[in-house]
């Protein structure tokens, strides 16, 4: 894309792009830290670190939101610039929420110290395995966003992060396993909370893919059932 006649506009847009990417990397690291915490169990020092590092993520959201506001107010963006700013603003919100879910998982693990993988029909799923594939999916979604790669975004939405997708199936299997295998209510509850948060993380990754498609194609794919009846 060629540059704006007004150079400062380009700088501000580049800054927003960097802020989103940096925040994305940070959230992926945050998830990685949680994974490390699970591997280190029964020690729980990592979980405190995870809970604390959420503050950094929130701070990043605030900064990116400021850049968004400033761009909207001062440049009155249109076209792809406008879509880029709107998409960035939405992605930042998704990332912040992923951060929150990671904290929820860290909290439950800190309290219960439970982490039992479930094996069903030869396939083993666990909070750790879902988290590992979640990190992978998030990184791919962010890469697609970075590269304007609408095909990857679509493919991910369809195959992995949709409700029928691989990730969701694994999360369902985990919940099913919990129901059958865990004895104490407390244990089941904690495991169910984790599975639920893992699903929410998946939803947010799904949304990031939608925002990518909106950015590139200008099409809002979030709720295909809603008809556009806007009249000017």
């Amino acid at each position: 894309m060629s540059s704006h006649t007004l150079k400062r506009y380009d700088k501000e847009l580049d800054k927003l792009k960097e802020q989103v990417e940096h925040m994305g990397e940070h959230v992926a690291l945050h998830m990685g830290m949680l994974l490390k915490g699970i591997e280190d169990l029964p020690g729980d020092s990592k979980f405190d670190e995870v809970i604390e590092s959420d503050i950094t993520i929130n701070g990043m959201e605030v900064k990116a939101s400021k850049t968004v506001l400033k761009l909207l107010a001062r440049q009155q963006p249109v076209g792809r610039d406008l879509r880029m700013i709107i998409a960035s603003s939405r992605v930042v919100t998704e990332l912040e929420r992923i951060g929150d879910e990671v904290v929820t998982i860290a909290r439950t693990l800190k309290e219960s110290h439970q982490h039992s993988p479930c094996t069903d029909g030869g396939v083993t799923v666990s909070t750790a395995s879902l988290l590992a594939s979640g990190i992978n999916l998030l990184e791919r979604a962010l890469l697609a966003l970075h590269n304007d790669d609408v095909e990857t975004a679509r493919d991910m939405m369809n195959r992995h992060v949709a409700h029928e997708g691989t990730y969701y199936q694994d999360a369902d299997q985990l919940i099913e396993c919990i129901k059958q295998n865990h004895e104490s209510i407390e244990e089941s509850f904690s495991a169910a909370l984790q599975a639920n948060s893992l699903k929410r993380i998946c939803d947010h990754i799904h949304n990031i893919c939608e925002h990518t498609i909106f950015l590139i194609e200008g099409e809002d794919v979030r709720h295909p059932e809603i008809q556009d009846e806007d009249e000017d």
Partner: protein, 292 residues
């Protein structure tokens, strides 16, 4: 309900689909992307294959564009791209420029406006014009408005004239500010007031279409907002085509936007589409400020 919408209602499905077919066929011989053409029931003015020359120099190169009923159409594009030239074709203002030659098929309500037998004076009442620089006549506020209706024989007594003056000034949102000094010269008003006076003058002769060429470029934000509000209100009764250099203004007031570049009509579409997701790269570059 106006007769137009009645027509739409009464048109049966079959007639509609035939109309759509014609519409699609016609769309094929233009290079413009988007929706430059409208169905006959929706359009007030139709322009097909328009070329304009100043001497040897071509200023408009094969543009086809319809202006809809009750719509504000904005025309945008870099300086010198031909916006004003195209706008002036719509009421034959180019006739006043000796070296200017217009070719093509231009119609108002199906009537060829370049028909040699057509009288341009009533045409310019039906298709009024407001210019960049407010240009009130060197007469009183009252006479500025009364002049048109008088020469077009629309009024022959004082009561009727008073009524047109009042209603036009009200319509243009100027009445309250000038009702106590109708005899004062129009040129003594502020720039924004003068521009609303010119709009009132255009309205006074009951036009169907109002053409505006950068009507707010000399106005402050408050006067601009008043004109924009007025444009939005006038749309209920008139068709408006506006040339503007302000992207925000085009985005705010128009329903459709046309982008011109070097005499060619590049893209026409619903304004929200053009400003959020334009199809043509030239449009995108221009509206986002990546031009030149």
């Amino acid at each position: 309900m106006t007769t137009d919408t009645m027509d739409d209602y009464e048109m049966n499905e079959e007639a509609k689909s035939i109309e759509d077919e014609i519409h699609e066929l016609e769309s094929e011989d233009t290079e413009t992307v988007g929706t430059p053409l409208l169905s006959p029931s929706k359009s007030r003015m139709t322009c097909r294959n328009v070329f304009v020359y100043y001497g040897e120099k071509m200023a408009i190169d094969n543009c086809s564009l319809d202006v809809g009923k009750n719509e504000v159409l904005s025309m945008i594009g870099p300086s010198g791209c031909g916006k004003s030239t195209f706008l002036r074709c719509l009421n034959r203002m180019n006739d006043t420029i000796d070296i200017c030659r217009v070719e093509g098929d231009l119609k108002l309500d199906g009537q060829n406006i370049y028909d040699p037998k057509l009288d341009v004076v009533p045409l310019r009442a039906r298709v009024g014009m407001v210019f960049q620089k407010p240009n009130p006549f060197p007469k009183s506020i009252y006479d500025n408005i009364a002049y048109g209706p008088r020469i077009h024989g629309m009024v022959d007594n004082k009561t009727d004239t008073d009524e047109i003056v009042e209603s036009s000034l009200k319509r243009a949102g100027l009445w309250e500010e000038v009702k106590d000094r109708l005899d004062a010269p129009g040129t003594g008003l502020s720039g924004g007031q003068q521009q609303r006076l010119c709009i009132a003058r255009a309205i006074a002769v009951s036009p169907e279409v109002i053409l505006m060429d950068e009507p707010c470029s000399a106005l402050d934000p408050i006067a601009t907002a008043k004109i924009e509000e007025l444009i939005d209100e006038l749309r209920e009764d008139y068709t408006i085509a506006i040339v503007t250099h302000s992207m925000q203004q085009a985005a705010r007031v128009s329903q459709r936007t046309a982008y011109f570049h070097l005499g060619k009509l590049i893209e026409v579409g619903q304004t929200d589409k053009v400003f959020t997701n334009p199809e043509h790269k030239l449009t995108e570059d221009y509206i986002t400020g990546r031009f030149g």
